[in-house]
Symmetry: C2
Subunit: 501 residues, 2 copies
């Protein structure tokens, strides 16, 4: 009985819960009775050799038979089930590593063994959301020290794939804290690879934003590369821009980041472990970090930036990794487009040296590329900028980018939205503020990131003079319904733009 | 649109989630589209003047129509819905007080205003479980100081009903950390009231245990008293034993305790605020705390007990409350029965001075009653014990208990289980350890607390000689199915008793 298991017919509910494993069972089902299960119990589901811990909700209607277990899509996928399969359900075993989470809450510090247990249970899906939130809060309210950050980073990096590239210098870049439209990655990789660096870049898709780098890149070439394909691309061209989700680097990070976003918590220790564990797992040896500092950015003051810079350097160097941290302006979106295809068009404009290419995106990409070239020793200190500029201006970076896309499966043109609608400036004056959160919402309502061509095009930047009735923003959509939702939202929220008379 | 609302037909799913508000909607429903909602979004449900914040899960099957919202029982009840009602659904507004939770995670301390906002949002159901877990962890990993505990206590007490009794001394008692079978309350109230104290006691029902004090008392008299009835009983008899859930004292405590139990976190600050906020709200002026100390009890060392005692006294005195804290033995269950009716029988045996009454329960009740009598000034220091003993031995306490039961709605005999089965000792020797967790599980599988007569009767105490084949435990059940579940569990888990040869 205890430790025993009870078969139930698995029902696929197509219940979407993000990645939360949920099982619905009837209160009068024999498993609930014999295992003494109550609503919100944690239960172990087993199908053959696969298992997952899920949260139980009980139901007292006729949606399910008493011999059925209804599974959320996340639980169904993780168990790899087919229609008609039988699963076993029992009380979930004690999650041993939670004792270490509690120990930290009671003021104890954690060693490598403790972090190993916690991260392994997190990756295996044994933590409920409240456990994840508790771990995150416990590592924040009582801040991690440098030793703990180092242990956490090492265990996170070890918990998934580890890539290696057979070259002494592997370059990488990362932007801390998403700034809308900040798609420097494809440009930086193209410049770096065209100058001889090895830069096997993995990027994320949007979680809550209208576009991730992987979403934008996907409108230009396939990004869903397995490790073998990624390796072939990098061996041929020196660089790639792949979706990180396909290679499972530091999978604990993906789980923790979801909870941190929901809580809007991202303290120093977690930020460092998150960024560096991904880079270590990706095999990077030389990493440039773009650190936007500004009143509404993730890092708000120079003092905070100093401390973060110092701690990142200490932790990174304990893994033999060299870092350079650049402070950049975090006050407004980067480039013109928000949404996968619109951001890709900005990237193409910069790479093709088109006259209307967004200057801010070009400048940011050059600064990061210059740092990467200097850090890797390809350019002497102070001369990285000139080398990066030359690579871009001569078309060498653009040629490299096209070859990378071809190697990833073929370059393509980003799609164009069939429907566009301009929103006019309500009055004349100077544009003084753009609400990034509302702009992102507008792009999402228009259909981004699922509709690749959907999004928002900003026609003015902070400080620009705008004229009453002239277009300020263009909304792009693929379907009339989405366009309507976006326009209705925009009509009620034109205060997202502040225009000073 | 933003701030707008969208009507959907409410469907009662009879989905049991403890008290978690959940709403299911189809991905293709117009509200998900127009509000840009994704799975696990927090949404505001409104029906007339009532509203509740719920977690959204999306479903892609035909269980729901695209114009329907399926509600968990908790959400349905809180909105007070009827079949056919229409509700409005929109993005949940920002929960302002979460900024203070985050502030504390970043190392800031909280003042009365901050705790007021947090507690008010907790009581209104605006916090998701991850927010509750974060608040609990943030107040633990970076421990609350005495000022913060005092503010938190005050705000928790203010967030629900506040009782007052029109007398200068109102006595109360509380046992810290549940010890199975520790049902001193009915005995202490009877002794105290029979000696002239005012003791309007509220108790809880079982949440995860086989019986709460209110469950046991309910087999003897009604406990579901409203404030008016409670007042009438106390005015007539000086004391009552009521279910606290009916009077809504410190409702935030009930919410926080649920999460603390799930996390197995109960740090000092939270413990103090939990206990004292309930007592302040109940109008208590003189409180005796029973603090079991032992290697597996909540408080494990004398040093921890000293610190807790000091801090409780400081916080209590800032509310003008006098406290006395008793350290008691926390090494094994108290009394003989585990389960509502079986525990009530132990209580009756002590009150009736029956020769087979459990001595440990009797002694504990006398010690607590003595302290209450001395603290209230009814007995001089050192003479409380004699007065309590006299009240019990002369039958005065028993007479008072019967009158209290009559005033609460009528005394009754606890039910007797139709099915019992003895479990024999597997071999002879000295009983050296009882696994409280497994004993509780056994009692719950037998049907407690829902089946009032169900539970477990322990026939031996630690240190007793037991004989192979002689009964060690009797399982009581109301239905054959439950008896079978309990016996199957017992057969596989007789290691819950350690018998040294």
């Amino acid at each position: 009985m205890n430790g025993g298991a009870h078969p139930l017919h698995a029902r696929r509910l197509r219940l979407l819960t993000q990645d939360e494993a949920i099982v619905l069972m009837r209160t009068d089902c024999h498993v609930c009775k014999s295992e003494g299960l109550a609503a919100r119990a944690r239960v172990l589901l087993r199908a053959g050799s696969r298992e997952v811990i899920a949260t139980l909700y009980q139901i007292e209607n006729d949606w399910l038979g008493a011999d059925e277990a209804g599974l959320s899509e996340a639980a169904w996928q993780r168990l790899g089930l087919n229609i008609g399969d039988v699963i076993e359900v029992q009380n979930a075993p004690t999650v041993e590593s939670l004792a270490d989470v509690r120990r930290r809450i009671y003021g104890g510090r954690l060693d490598a063994r403790a972090f190993r247990g916690i991260i392994s249970d997190v990756v295996a899906g044994r933590y409920a959301d409240i456990h994840l939130a508790t771990f995150v809060a416990a590592c924040s309210a009582f801040p991690l020290n440098v030793d703990e950050i180092t242990h956490l980073t090492a265990e996170m990096a070890d918990a998934g794939e580890r890539l290696s590239w057979g070259v002494p210098v592997v370059s990488d870049k990362h932007s801390v804290g998403g700034l809308p439209g900040n798609r420097t990655t494809p440009i930086v990789v193209a410049i770096a690879a065209s100058c001889g660096l090895t830069m096997p870049k993995t990027s994320s898709r949007a979680i809550t934003s209208p576009s991730g780098t992987a979403d934008a890149m996907e409108t230009l070439a396939p990004v869903d590369l397995d490790v073998a394909t990624m390796r072939r691309v990098v061996e041929m061209e020196g660089g790639c821009i792949a979706w990180g989700g396909a290679v499972r680097l530091s999978p604990a990070d993906d789980v923790l980041i979801r909870v941190e976003r929901a809580l809007e918590i991202d303290t120093e220790g977690q930020l460092i472990a998150s960024v560096l564990s991904k880079k270590i797992a990706a095999g990077a040896t030389h990493v440039v970090l773009d650190l936007p500092v500004g009143p509404t950015a993730k890092v708000r003051t120079d003092i905070a930036a100093d401390k973060l810079t110092e701690h990142i350097s200490i932790v990174a160097s304990s893994f033999g990794m060299k870092t350079r941290i650049l402070r950049t302006d975090g006050s407004q979106p980067v480039g013109r487009g928000i949404g996968p295809a619109l951001e890709a068009r900005d990237v193409l404009a910069v790479l093709r040296c088109e006259p209307q290419a967004p200057k801010d995106l070009r400048t940011r990409a050059l600064v990061i590329a210059a740092a990467a070239l200097e850090l890797a020793g390809v350019a002497p200190e102070g001369l990285g900028g000139a080398l990066a500029e030359e690579a871009l201006a001569t078309g060498r970076a653009w040629a490299k980018f096209q070859r990378i896309c071809a190697a990833q499966g073929g370059m393509r043109e980003p799609p164009v939205a069939p429907l566009t609608r301009a929103l006019a400036a309500p009055h004349s004056g100077i544009l003084t503020h753009v609400n990034n959160r509302k702009i992102s919402r507008l792009a999402k309502l228009a259909g981004a990131p699922d509709d690749k061509a959907a999004g928002v095009e900003l026609l003015a930047r902070l400080g620009d003079q705008v004229t009453a009735g002239a277009p300020l923003v263009i909304v792009h959509a693929e379907a009339p319904g989405e366009l309507d939702y976006a326009l209705a939202f925009a009509a009620a929220n034109m205060d997202m733009f502040e225009i000073e008379v």
